[in-house]
Symmetry: C3
Subunit: 284 residues, 3 copies
């Protein structure tokens, strides 16, 4: 990323997403997840449906080793019991040493002290990507006391300055989830307007997206795409599948099952035609 910044267009972002989805299915990335107990099963199912290979290795003595061999790593702070916290530190160490791209999801930070301190420490290890709702991103940038849990109480646009600052300070791609997702690497800003509100009615709707990012970052590393495009591919594929699922669902229960079916069935060729993307250069 020390190269001059490559200009992006909606078409190049969507085209890269289609290429990355094809590449991911051809060579399934090993997605190492240390995530919360609420969404472990759903997250693994999302990765399997996408075409990736999930592995939830979250104990001390194994997590570091495994992160070094994985294609991508997710560290999600949803239920950070002491053993998991130690495993996270070990895994991030292993990922950094091996160059494994990794995603930080600072679930519900701001109000809750243990995870907030941990998120700040992990942020300073320069995650490849950070994913959160607006309240979490504001809190991670030190600009707010955070939400009241996993719900965002701030809007995506309100977090755009914080996202850019975080991206520049820590070399991360920052993704703010919301009705319109906002992604930035500090120099470019991508807005993706796909998705469906039913994603907010399924637990893990956001957390599983972090795992999808880890998988796409693994594929991007293998195929020499930049991280910002991998994160955009994750958001596009996931939110387009959500649209397909919403069309078939009778409510949040059937939606969750349909989302897995839709991820499994999404054709790379359909991504560019349906993507609703806006791209901007942002001033230094």
């Amino acid at each position: 990323m020390s190269d001059p910044v490559r200009p992006l267009s909606p078409d190049s972002v969507a085209g890269a997403a289609a290429e990355l989805l094809t590449a991911l299915r051809a060579a399934p990335p090993l997605a190492h997840c240390i995530t919360n107990g609420v969404v472990m099963g759903f997250t693994a199912n999302v990765l399997l449906a996408l075409g990736a290979a999930p592995a939830m290795v979250d104990i001390v003595g194994e997590a570091g080793l495994f992160a070094g061999a994985a294609s991508g790593l997710l560290v999600n702070l949803g239920t950070p019991a002491p053993e998991q916290r130690a495993a996270m530190a070990e895994a991030v160490e292993g990922a950094c040493a091996a160059g494994t791209p990794w995603v930080l999801d600072p679930v519900a930070i701001g109000v809750l002290p243990i995870r907030t301190a941990l998120a700040v420490e992990l942020r300073d290890r320069r995650p490849t990507a950070v994913r959160g709702n607006a309240s979490e991103i504001l809190a991670l940038a030190g600009r707010s006391a955070g939400g009241r849990g996993v719900d965002a109480t701030d809007s995506t646009d309100a977090a755009s300055d914080a996202a850019r600052a975080l991206a520049r300070a820590h070399g991360s791609v920052v993704a703010v989830s919301g009705p319109v997702d906002l992604l930035t690497d500090g120099a470019r800003e991508i807005r993706i307007a796909n998705g469906d509100a039913l994603l907010t009615k399924v637990t893990g709707g956001g957390c599983a997206l972090g795992a999808v990012m880890a998988a796409f970052l693994g594929t991007a590393r293998a195929t020499e795409h930049e991280p910002l495009l991998a994160v955009a591919a994750a958001v596009l594929v996931y939110t387009l599948a959500a649209e397909d699922a919403a069309a078939r669902a009778a409510g949040p229960g059937t939606f969750a099952a349909a989302l897995l079916d839709a991820l499994d069935g999404l054709r790379p060729d359909d991504v560019p035609a349906r993507a609703r993307i806006r791209v901007e250069e942002v001033a230094a």
Copy 2:
């Protein structure tokens, strides 16, 4: 509850349930759950489908703080690892200090020593509500050696004396789950005959109801309804949704998804017409 006991009728119970469901959706309560690893995901999905905001904060250093800010708390003893046990104690402390209503679900107590001792300790902290099957309620009242796990081996009616004694001794609303649910605050007894046997074929069918009670208790506190009505609202809404789901399901797998759809879709106005309630004053 030091006021003279207000007489209830099936109509007033069902009417309050409809009001509480409307109020819950208008101002989603933050339902703090410390629950077992088997049902965490399903429980969060039930709360989201209902219209509440779930948060599974189960670590020491956060649980107490969070319980003080939550609308309601569930403490479920299904897989009580040491970290969770310490977090439960902290959460109950926080809930009691802040006046947050809380629900105790003494899963599989009686035979298993660690959770049985813990349940007795927690019972003595005067939970706002206790939910269990007949065997668990008998065990919590010290009247039986309990079942062989999560299955009730005793009938609901067999537990009615124990439920009343528990309610009076600890100031709790006690709910005994079964084909007919029995609820009592020691002075009144409500029987609700809604529901479907498929609820017993889905893991978390009972555990998630405890979380629904925590959510309704939060709404009841905000709207000045008494706890017994909140617990009755939880049972009514949940079992009516189960009836809707059973009508659409081809077995226990599709039933679980349909239950979430049905909770999301249930209209408050439909509750009174479909409720199958019996109310009795009980002699002191």
Copy 3:
């Protein structure tokens, strides 16, 4: 098993599976599972749909006691945090003392050091059955460095010598999962060609089968069937249900729900007609 080995035929294996399924539903075995956090919920739902009674008791101070009273025990090494590791040791001790049949599922051993050492220790306690993919079985027999996680990178046939050696050395029935499942007690080899590839797209597709084996082993003990027939019954019932589910599913999400429906609906009489079994005596 010190008796002379009874010859088996495809018909006798399938007939025993039908008998065992009938017996299981008539007297639901208590299936004690110590399993990973990713699949706990799905595993419990599979057991409930089958007709068994699941109980996930995985803490020190309860696991040993409970294993002694259970019909069958599963020990799955998917996310072996320290508390679970200690509970596993206690549970195996309790199971061995009481004669409770137990299943070892050595998830992802080979590369990961903590679980590999644990699996070797548990293997030497002579599990009634061992279930894994080819890579895991090779690793447990000390013949390979294992796969890269839960994916088999070796074929079932490549593991057949290792399976036989394990079975003979430790008195276990060994089941190697794959497109064709291979089961052996060291003297006989059964191959079952039922199933559907969608099982590999659902997390817990393999892990839940280990729990089904624990349930059938409990029923087999009560009805005096030999362990090899119980393990075969588990594979047959589970893979036939998978075929039914695949016929109704639109992808991996609806498949998972349909699998539960199909397990609930499978008729014992249908097993023999649809079973695709091959049986061989194997040379000493």
